[in-house]
């Protein structure tokens, strides 16, 4: 058995996966420290959900093998929600060997119902395992998620591009966009109460497609804190920490910039 795990009360995982399902397929990687789910086929954006092994009541993975496979995420999310909004089901996941289907067994807590499911998996060419996190190594800000969500909503919805600026001098962190209606700008000071960490090694300004940033707003609604980081290449990293009771899971979102530094 390459991988098996059990979890009771996975409502938050269900909600998070549902809100990031922007593509049909996802790549699952059961790692020693937890399960990573990465959306497949996204061009300038990479979205992953990371479920640490502490969230599971039982977690076993064969660490000798490098386990990686692809499944239809839409179907998986649908099945996780099979009992609808009530019932607090518990879930058992297993992946026997390379090429075998992903097996799910769910037991409804209140009614005497068992659901079992097998989803066909596909092989993945294990491409370059570049660590995107390493690329965003220069500037970083950790801020309360609800504040960031509110500020992003204040920016002009119709604008195509958003500019993100990190600076060691005031105003420190700026988001601005210009659209037909005019210009909108939001500044966050490193001294603000909502900002936990602020680090700016090199002042950087990059432009991003606003639609790519807005895509993450839905799941950001579940998060407690967000870490925004950038590096020389302009890759923007957003790491969301999502708390559920005493456990925590993460969503990571990387977006490439439109064009380089300098206005």
């Amino acid at each position: 058995m390459l991988f098996c795990a059990e979890i009771t009360d996975f409502k938050i995982i269900q909600n998070v996966l549902r809100s990031i399902t922007m593509k049909d397929f996802a790549i699952l990687r059961p790692l020693a420290e937890g399960l990573k789910v990465t959306l497949d086929e996204m061009k300038c954006v990479e979205t992953s959900a990371y479920i640490p092994k502490e969230m599971f009541s039982m977690y076993h993975v064969d660490t000798i093998e490098n386990i990686i496979f692809k499944v239809n995420l839409k179907i998986l999310v649908d099945i996780l929600n099979i009992f609808g909004d009530d019932g607090n089901p518990n879930l058992k996941l297993s992946y026997n060997s390379e090429g075998s289907p992903l097996c799910l067994v769910m037991n409804h807590n209140e009614e005497n119902i068992t659901v079992d499911c097998e989803i066909r998996t596909m092989n993945v060419e294990d491409g370059s395992s570049i660590s995107l996190a390493e690329e965003c190594d220069l500037n970083k800000m950790v801020i309360d998620a609800n504040i960031l969500v509110e500020l992003l909503h204040r920016l002009d919805n119709n604008a195509d591009e958003v500019t993100l600026k990190f600076s060691p001098d005031p105003p420190y962190f700026t988001l601005c966009c210009s659209g037909i209606a005019g210009e909108s700008e939001v500044n966050i000071s490193k001294n603000s109460e909502s900002v936990r960490i602020f680090q700016c090694k090199v002042p950087l300004t990059f432009h991003y497609h606003f639609g790519n940033i807005r895509q993450i707003l839905k799941v950001m609604g579940y998060a407690n804190k967000v870490a925004i980081s950038t590096g020389e290449s302009g890759l923007l990293g957003l790491q969301l920490a999502i708390n559920s009771d005493e456990k925590q899971m993460f969503v990571e979102y990387y977006v490439t910039s439109l064009y380089g530094d300098g206005d």
């Binding site: 649908d78 099979i82 609808g84 009614e111 005497n112 119902i113 659901v115 079992d116 499911c117 097998e118």
Partner: protein, 253 residues
């Protein structure tokens, strides 16, 4: 021929409305069979030859109606068979969602035979509003009544108690997103299983410990294997999932 019936209780009205909505999801046309004791909604399969009912809905009159009066075709056959559009009925009855004082349905002749629905709404304390809808019907003559015979229920292989319909509804709806057909099976121990399969995913829901009313005695060839195998003997049937998914909706509303 005469027919007049009145409903004054809100739950009965709601039920009637839900039934008409479910009927409209199964088919565009339906036959209403009016007898002294029961009202029947019959939807037939669209095949030529002896028609078999796809839907057979029986409503006991004294449970639903405060007033009920029918005078059939003649004294010997005190029944009326009418064919009507389910969409029109569902649309008219959707008014029952509002605050309704009374709901009357009757057979009328307004240039052509119609089922007239008269709904009295409570618009205020003093003023009430009345809504009248005429649904054209076709009277089915006695020579065709044999087409709508009551189905025999004694050749079922298994009769098993249904589990919680709300859960079934949720599960069948998800299965509908996945596959086209639903495999329904049951075994002697009272375990009902719903399954759907495609080449990508296979999904089964098991409902154990249900009451069994009857189980295929004489219908399944018993083998000479161990008792263990006996327990696992299953009776199964494959149905079109879209048709099944409409039923729990009515029952859980």
């Amino acid at each position: 021929m005469k027919f007049r019936a009145v409903i004054t209780e809100a739950p009965a009205m709601r039920d009637f409305m839900n039934i008409s909505l479910s009927l409209s999801k199964f088919s565009k046309d339906c036959v209403l069979r009016i007898t002294a004791r029961k009202l029947y909604f019959i939807i037939s399969e669209e095949e030529s030859g002896p028609r078999r009912p796809l839907v057979w809905c029986e409503l006991p009159v004294n449970f639903y109606f405060k007033e009920y009066n029918v005078v059939g075709v003649n004294e010997q056959y005190n029944e009326i068979y009418l064919e009507f559009s389910t969409v029109l009925l569902a649309r008219s009855l959707s008014i029952l969602k509002q605050n309704v004082k009374s709901f009357k349905i009757k057979l009328t002749n307004k240039e052509s035979p119609c089922l007239t629905v008269e709904i009295e709404l409570m618009a205020g304390e003093i003023i009430s509003r009345q809504v009248v809808h005429d649904i054209p019907v076709e009277v089915i003559s006695r020579k065709h009544w044999a087409d709508y015979e009551e189905p025999r229920f004694d050749d079922f292989h298994v009769s098993i108690q249904m589990p919680n319909l709300k859960a079934v509804r949720s599960i069948v709806e998800k299965m509908r997103n996945i596959g086209h057909s639903l495999i329904v099976s049951a075994n002697k121990n009272g375990r009902l299983t719903l399954q759907t399969k495609t080449n990508i995913v296979s999904l089964s829901a098991h409902f154990p410990d249900l009451g069994i009313k009857s189980f295929a005695v004489g219908h399944i060839t018993t083998t000479n294997s161990d008792d263990e195998d006996d327990v696992n003997q299953n009776v199964r049937s494959i149905v079109d999932i879209k048709k099944v998914s409409h039923v729990p909706v009515w029952a859980t509303n």
